[in-house]
């Protein structure tokens, strides 16, 4: 055969080998760089490892959650309220500061500002509160509103989202989920995150771990425990002492009333917070019951040592998400470590340690969507998909043989190569195969053979018009080419739109269809042509081709 054809055949052969290697080779361990399978069993395993399966084929959980970024705004406004009160007191401005929430906006209202102090207030705000705007309040000349600048508020919201995403990622990593996906979802102002957990078919534990705010604080107990909030208030004449707060918890010491609600009066300022934690591990306590042991950072240890040293004999409340978990008595100065005990199971202790290690969430989480595919359904879907693909492929190939005879063999060879390239591309790019993705493969088979039909029909027409075989083949490919490009482009454009707007399974469909059609451009135009050219050189002059 001619040089040109031989070169082309070599290119195609090399491509086939490359594709096949990509599909069947997978290293068994770190030592093996090229895992060429030596047994059929190994071959099946390799292929299964090479192709990444989507959740709907492997089984797993898909979660969409929304980060309640307004929580972070709330915290910022609270802190600003504290600071403003301190500043006003320092500058002897006798005004009142209240927090107000209206129409999803949280801001501060300052009332009772004396006439002569308004300018001072303005200067104070400009200097000490650069992210805030001071505006007049309708209907009250002695009042002002302090609200966050739009840009500052937006920055806080974005930061809350980012921090939440990384905390969630941290927690999921520690759970040992293989290949999870954590990504932003939806529009700019939605603050939604999509989490995909392959292989997790009971998501309740994971959901609880992701959602737990895990704000740990340690505060000195001033008084308590009381049986109810009212009892605590009554004991202090109805007013809480300054810089203190009431928190609920459970009575845990043995004997009467164990497990009942107990209220503690604690210092408002925390001795140690979650930020001071260096590590947390589940360890059994002295009685062998599950508990969580934690280590503090250097700064945290210094502060902790000071506070415990000054308060020996008092109780230290260990507070998780504003609930007192336990309140042991400080026996002596403690510096760098502590233990949280409670009625934990081993699992609960491990989960709590995990959550403390990953850091607190800056905002709470609300779940919007949850889909769980069990592995048995995934296996069923794979089987259905494979059966449908094989039946479809055989039907199409059979038809092509009957209708186009010799040329049908040509088309079938091109089709098989098309599929090999498609699967190899999925393996090399690590693209995820989903059930609609398998449908995309089937659609590629149906539409891919379309290109060949176009060419063959054109060749038949050219032959009918009386052209020689060689000219007919050339004419067929030439005229059909433009139409093939057109049809592939329109389908690929709709696939791209699907990819942009779709999630998981639909993206899988868009990906396989696009790759399949791009490969089809190559196989139906280049490969088919090479096969035709080869057959043309083999036949006698003037002999008809089988089409």
């Amino acid at each position: 055969m001619g040089i040109k054809i031989r070169n082309r055949v070599i290119i195609i052969a090399a491509l086939i080998v490359l594709c096949l290697l990509g599909i069947i080779c997978y290293p068994a361990s770190e030592q093996e760089t090229v895992g060429f399978p030596k047994t059929f069993q190994r071959l099946k395993e390799n292929v299964r490892n090479r192709i990444r399966l989507g959740l709907d084929l492997k089984g797993g959980t898909h979660l969409v959650l929304q980060v309640q970024v307004e929580d972070a705004i709330n915290v910022t406004v609270d802190l600003a309220q504290e600071r403003l009160r301190d500043e006003l007191r320092a500058k002897a401005i006798p005004a009142n500061v209240e927090k107000k929430t209206e129409d999803h906006k949280t801001y501060l209202v300052i009332t009772g500002i004396p006439q002569d102090k308004t300018n001072e207030l303005q200067t104070l705000v400009t200097e000490q509160f650069p992210d805030w705007d001071l505006t007049r309040r309708a209907g009250d000349p002695s009042a002002r509103e302090l609200s966050l600048k739009a840009s500052a508020a937006a920055a806080i919201r974005t930061q809350a989202l980012e921090q939440s995403k990384s905390t969630i990622r941290n927690r999921i990593d520690q759970l040992g989920v293989t290949e999870p996906t954590i990504a932003e979802y939806g529009g700019q102002t939605d603050y939604e995150v999509v989490v995909q957990l392959p292989g997790v078919d009971d998501p309740s534990r994971v959901k609880d771990i992701i959602q737990s705010t895990a704000m740990l604080t340690l505060k000195i107990v001033q008084d308590g425990p009381y049986t109810s909030r009212e009892a605590a208030l009554a004991a202090h004449g109805g007013i809480l002492p300054p810089d203190s707060e009431l928190l609920p918890g459970r009575r845990e010491t043995g004997g009467e009333g164990q497990g009942a609600e107990a209220w503690y009066l604690v210092n408002r300022i925390a001795a140690v917070t979650g930020r001071d934690l260096r590590d947390a591990q589940p360890r059994p306590d002295e009685n062998g019951r599950p508990s969580v042991s934690f280590n503090l950072t250097r700064d945290g240890a210094v502060r902790f040592g000071r506070v415990t040293g000054q308060n020996v004999g008092k109780q230290l409340a260990i507070i998780l998400d504003n609930r007192v978990v336990s309140a042991p008595v400080i026996q002596s100065q403690i510096t760098d470590s502590g233990r949280i005990t409670g009625s934990f199971t081993a699992q609960q202790a491990a989960d709590l340690a995990l959550v403390l290690r990953s850091g607190a969430l800056p905002a709470s989480i609300k779940y919007l969507e949850e889909r769980t595919v069990g592995p048995s359904l995934g296996a069923d879907s794979i089987r259905h998909g494979v059966v449908a693909s094989i039946v479809g492929l055989l039907a199409v190939m059979g038809f092509m043989l009957v209708y186009y005879r010799g040329a049908g063999v040509n088309a079938n060879l091109a089709l098989v190569l098309n599929l090999i390239m498609l699967v190899a591309a999925l393996a090399y790019f690590g693209a995820v195969l989903t059930l609609p993705g398998i449908a995309g493969v089937i659609l590629t088979v149906g539409m891919g053979v379309d290109s060949n039909v176009l060419i063959f029909e054109r060749i038949r027409e050219e032959l009918r018009m009386g052209k020689t075989v060689g000219a007919a083949v050339a004419g067929g490919f030439e005229h059909a080419f433009v139409t093939i490009i057109d049809t592939h482009v329109t389908t690929i454009v709709s696939a791209l739109i699907l990819f942009t707007f779709g999630t998981g399974p639909i993206r899988g469909f868009a990906v396989t269809l696009t790759i399949g059609l791009l490969a089809n451009l190559f196989t139906s135009v280049f490969v088919s042509r090479v096969i035709f050219d080869y057959m043309l050189t083999k036949r006698e002059k003037g002999e008809a081709i089988s089409i």
Binding site: G374, S376, L454, E457, L498
Partner: protein, 408 residues
């Protein structure tokens, strides 16, 4: 072999019959949608909770309903799913059933709790094998050590039993068991299983009669978001096609193609409504593929029309369109037929999950081909016939944009 040997059918002459057929299909579909007060939305767009459960025996739907009523879920819908042999059931809750402040999965937990109460109860101290994870199975095997691996060292023991547990669970999950084992003896065939292993399983585990295969919970916000997005995406797809064909041909060709495709989408939605089938996200994806496919087909005919316009000097546009359609008929029917074979295979053998998607494509392939001939081409003819009358001495269908303009 050849189906259509140089057909010479007068398509445009029969266009009123074809348009009539289209109108009948359209009206039937629209009436059905009106009667059902809108499209039959799947959970993706409606929101709500769906739990897919497989039972080992034919489930008594009334018993299930009774059990659910006891936990205040009387409003749940229960329907059979898939082949009768599979004993599968879908239990569904409306999005409004759970209060907005409840956790998203409150409904699902209640359903699973009710099922466990009736079908999952086993002897105290035993674990349900049908709903156990490989870790749980491995843990019990390690403790009991039926294969007497203890002498090999704890690492070997752990990994050995983990592998065995995974093999057992994989076997349970694969077809034909698909998640439910009725008798421990069925596990005999798994590699590495000895009678001692089966003994341990029998001692530590029991076999419940149900297995949860799939759950879907879509909150109300996501449902409305997706509905809006689906409409935008479909319109975006149509717009993109219009621009592309305008660019490759002429504006009127683009308009004709878009109207034809829009007609296809409406008829498909109408047929879904007539058959009372749900519109899910994958159905929308299939609709978009349908848009692409219908365009394909229309482009093939338009390509031929454009080529003939360039080549012929004197011809009535209507006759030219007829000739173009006839010339491409063989190719059009063939490719549609082949694609139809492929998606028909998907519809018949692809399983329940992808059924809506496959049905959309099956309908779409047929209607898409039909619309290129029956809708897109007549629109072109209408336009040029009217335009032609207004241009004296002008041959209708000529693309008049300077010397190079004929290439479109």
């Amino acid at each position: 072999m050849e189906f259509f040997h140089q057909p010479k059918i007068d398509w445009m002459g029969k266009k009123w019959y074809l348009i009539g057929l289209s109108l009948i299909l359209l009206v039937a579909g629209l009436v059905s949608i009106a009667v059902r007060r809108g499209l039959v939305y799947g959970i993706d767009f409606r929101g709500g909770t769906l739990v897919y459960v497989k039972f080992s025996k034919q489930p008594d739907l009334d018993a299930i309903r009774g059990e659910l009523k006891r936990v205040n879920l009387g409003g749940a819908t229960i329907q059979r799913y898939g082949a009768a042999l599979d004993n599968e059931v879908i239990i569904g809750l409306d999005v409004g059933t759970t209060a907005s402040t409840d956790a998203l999965d409150a409904g699902k937990r209640a359903i699973v709790g009710a099922l466990a109460g009736q079908y999952g109860v086993g002897p105290a101290g035993k674990v349900d094998f049908n709903n156990a994870s490989p870790q749980t199975v491995a843990e019990h095997l390690v403790v009991a050590d039926p294969l007497r691996l203890a002498y090999k060292g704890s690492d070997e023991v752990l990994s050995g039993y983990r592998q065995l547990a995974e093999a057992l669970v994989n076997f349970r999950n694969s077809p034909p068991h698909s998640g439910l084992i009725a008798d421990f003896q069925e596990l005999r065939g798994v590699a590495g299983v000895t009678p001692a292993v089966l003994d341990t399983l029998g001692k530590d585990f029991y076999l419940s009669q149900y297995a949860v295969r799939n759950t879907e919970i879509v909150g109300p916000k996501v449902g409305t978001d997706l509905r809006r997005q689906a409409i935008y995406v479909t319109l975006a797809g149509l717009a993109a096609m219009l621009v592309y064909i305008w660019f490759r041909f002429e504006l009127i060709y683009g308009v004709a193609a878009v109207i034809a495709t829009f007609h296809d989408v409406l008829i498909t939605l109408g047929i879904f409504s007539l058959l009372n089938k749900e519109i899910s996200l994958t159905v929308i994806a299939a609709l978009l593929s349908l848009v692409g496919y219908s365009m394909n087909d229309t482009i093939v005919v338009f390509d031929r029309i454009r080529e003939n316009v360039r080549l012929t000097k004197r011809e009535n546009f209507l006759d030219l369109v007829n000739r173009s359609v006839n010339q491409t008929l063989s190719r059009t029917i063939l490719t549609s037929g082949l694609t139809f074979l492929a998606v028909l295979s998907l519809y018949l053998f692809g399983g329940e999950v992808i059924n809506g998607f496959a049905l959309t494509l099956v309908i779409g392939v047929i209607i898409g081909t039909y619309s290129s001939i029956a809708v897109a081409s007549p629109i072109l003819v209408f336009f040029y016939q009217r335009a032609g009358q207004n241009r004296v001495g002008m041959k209708p269908g000529v693309i008049e944009r300077g010397a190079a303009g004929a290439r479109g």
